[in-house]
Amino acid sequence: MFFVGVYGFLTRRNLITILMSVELILNSVNINFVAFNRYLFPHKLEGFFFSLFVITVAAAEAAVAIAIIINIYRRFTTINVEDVDVMKY
């Protein structure tokens, strides 16, 4: 699932899709946390808490990212990453 996210992040040209890929990556990490916590340290809760944090941060990140995407759309009238290349030499 993590590499599905990475693949999506690298190949998709649409910013929304890229954002979704990022969410995929984060979720895969969450699942990993929960799973490893359950099997390696069944009496501790750090993994659960960590994934809770990741969820919170992911929510905030999604909000910010969408705001950025909206701004980019207003500025360039596109959400294709290949067209947004003014930050080069």
Binding site: V84, D85, K88
Partner: protein, 639 residues
């Protein structure tokens, strides 16, 4: 015990005046700011006289000697536990005498400037600078330690620079101020080196410890040696180098004649009466060290002084700009003072030269300030600096004429004016110590009388020239200081200096040595007579003489080409053989290295800028590939 703590005010008042006039002067009316500056000076003059009265006439003597009193002292810069620089007020006979000289002359110059500078642009600026100068000069003479002296020494240099360049729109004034500053600064480098050597070996800056005849400075001095001279001698020679620069002795005299570009009151105050004697004062201050542990340095002082006095006197005979004549005469008289110090011994009657030097310093300050202020009045009247534009002025400027005559007689050493007494003491001291220098000084006395009266006859006698308008006497603000100074110059000879200002603070008996005095007066009279024959009426003799001694005359007229020698040395030798290679090295090696680095960086960055494509996903791809690579590498290394 008299409380002298109020003496702190003496340097402080002019400083406050400087801040006030410098910051707020342009908001005040010019006249008011001038009066304020003068009032401040009046206050410190009164304070100085009170101090002198208590110091000399209510003295606390120990062993019959005037004590050195530290009126106040506070640590100014604490560098380490042992190394600290203090600021304070030290009272001893010479510093109290200098207080009198400086405050009196400065006060007179302030009053005079009220008239002379009237209506000039930057009137309040002028008074602010004058206050700054007075502050630094007073701080210099009351310094408790050599470092404080050095600081104020530099401040004096700065204020002199500011005042010479007062007419900053005139290129020649700007050049002169720069020249004065650079030449004296160069000499001060020697002073600083001297201080460092001295303090390194004695572990103190303090004058009280340094000049104590039984103190460590004199005890440790003679031990270590370098090139055949003791380390104390070297340090004293270096310190003297600073004095040579400030006092315009040969070979650092070249700035003084050019410094006459400044306003005339400035020339009177700085370049005649006070600042230029700072070098003499410096030697006098360090005198116990010179006399007791560095006699070779004292010989240097004597010979430099004697040579400068002769050299300057000869040049003065040929100059036509009256202020320049006076400048060279100042140099010549300071040479006298240096010589007197140089032939002096320490203590008792041996210290005759020391006393004579201080005495001459005092009388010289009076009559030279008078001469300069008189010259200012003349220039004010005829709007020219050149003798050739003057003549027959005695009818138009009666007061200036009389006071100028008094000053000329004083400098020529004619009794009963003060110059006679002080010059006689110097000659007596020279006679008992070094016959050769004594002869030189006899000759200089004659030349001095000659060139001063050449000046006098040319200005006040002779034919009247065509003037733009009839010359008129200067306003009262200018003539009153002239009269006061003339009285001072005439009568200050009766001050019993041998009871007051001596090398070890003890009084000794001294009387006029008639065997020396009478020939010196005769020589002076001979000089005057020669000047009378040559210049009182219009004759062709001077021109003929100049023609006969064409080359000598031309040499002297061009100041023996010392300026040209300096120019040659700097331009042809130093610039070509030192500065040019250094500049080449800087431009090609130092700059070249830097330029190569810059070029390479630029070239590389042009090549690699393609990486910055702006394509977000390329970056992400590189990043993730890198992460994976590292991850793989880590696993391999781990296992």
């Amino acid at each position: 015990m008299v409380n002298y703590s109020y003496t702190v005010l003496i340097p402080l008042i002019p400083f406050l005046m400087f801040i006030l006039l410098g910051l707020a002067g342009h908001k005040l009316k010019p006249r008011l700011s001038g009066l304020l500056g003068t009032a401040g000076l009046a206050a410190i003059t009164v304070l100085s006289y009170i101090t002198a009265y208590f110091y000399f006439f209510r003295p606390e003597k120990v062993n019959d000697a005037f004590q050195k009193i530290t009126a106040s002292n506070s640590t100014w810069l604490q560098l380490t536990d042992k190394l600290h620089i203090d600021m304070g007020v030290l009272l001893d006979p010479i510093s109290v005498m200098m207080l009198i000289v400086i405050s009196t002359v400065s006060f007179m110059v302030h009053i005079y400037s009220l008239g002379y500078m009237k209506g000039e642009k930057g009137f309040e600026r002028f008074f602010a600078f004058l206050s700054l100068f007075t502050f630094s000069m007073l701080g210099l003479v009351v310094a408790t330690n050599i470092f404080q002296m050095y600081i104020f020494w530099e401040l004096v240099g700065v204020s002199s620079y500011l005042l010479i360049g007062f007419y900053y729109t005139k290129p020649s004034a700007v050049r002169a101020s720069k020249k004065a500053f650079i030449v004296t600064r160069f000499a001060d480098m020697g002073f600083l080196i001297g201080i460092l050597i001295l303090s390194f070996n004695t572990k103190t800056f303090d004058f009280l410890t340094l000049t104590d005849p039984t103190g460590p400075a004199i005890a440790t001095g003679s031990g270590i040696s370098f090139l055949g001279l003791s380390v104390m001698t070297w340090s004293m020679i270096f310190v003297y180098m600073g004095g040579v620069g400030k006092s315009a002795m040969f070979p650092f005299h070249i700035w003084l004649p050019d410094a006459m570009e400044g306003p005339t009151p400035v020339s009177a105050l700085i370049h005649a009466a006070t600042m230029v004697v700072a070098g003499v004062y410096l030697v006098a201050r360090m005198f116990p060290i010179y006399a007791l542990s560095a006699p070779a340095a004292l010989d240097v002082v004597a010979y430099v002084g004697a040579f400068s006095s002769l050299f300057a006197a000869v040049i003065a005979c040929t100059q036509t700009d009256i202020k320049r004549v006076l400048a060279y005469s100042t140099m010549s008289q300071i040479g006298y003072m240096m010589l007197a110090l140089g032939v002096s011994g320490y203590g008792g009657h041996e210290g005759l030269g020391f006393m004579a030097s201080m005495f001459h310093l005092f009388t010289h300050a009076m009559f030279k300030a008078l001469l300069f202020l008189g010259a200012g009045a003349i220039i004010h009247a005829v709007h020219s600096n050149f003798m050739t534009d003057m003549g027959g002025l005695r009818k138009h400027l009666p007061i200036t004429h009389i006071t100028f005559l008094v000053a000329c007689l004083t400098i020529a050493g004619i009794p009963p004016f003060s110059g006679f007494f002080s010059k006689d003491e110097i000659l007596a001291a020279a006679y008992s110590h070094n016959r050769f220098l004594f002869t030189v000084e006899y000759a200089v006395a004659g030349i001095t009388a000659f060139y001063m009266f050449r000046l006098y006859f040319n200005i006040f006698w002779g034919e009247e020239r065509e003037y733009h308008h009839t010359p008129h006497e200067a306003p009262a603000a200018m003539t009153i200081p002239l009269i006061i100074l003339a009285v001072g110059a005439a009568v200050s000879g009766i001050i019993p200096f041998h009871k007051l200002v001596t090398s070890d603070g003890k009084a000794f008996e001294s009387e006029i040595e008639w065997a020396i005095a009478i020939p010196s007066v005769l020589i002076g009279l001979a000089g005057i007579a020669t000047a009378w024959v040559l210049y009182a009426k219009k004759t062709t003799i001077p021109d003929k003489l100049a023609a006969t001694f064409k080359y000598t005359y031309k040499w002297a007229y061009n100041k023996f080409y010392i300026d040209e020698v300096y120019l040659f040395m700097t331009k042809k030798v130093i610039f070509r053989y030192i500065s040019a290679p250094v500049a080449w090295f800087d431009r090609h090696i130092v700059d070249g290295t830097m330029n190569t680095v810059a070029t390479v960086t630029q070239a590389v960055s042009f090549r690699i800028r393609g990486f910055q494509s702006g394509q977000l996903q390329k970056y992400a791809f590189v990043f993730i590939s890198g992460a994976i690579l590292l991850f793989v590498l880590l696993i391999y290394l781990w296992v």
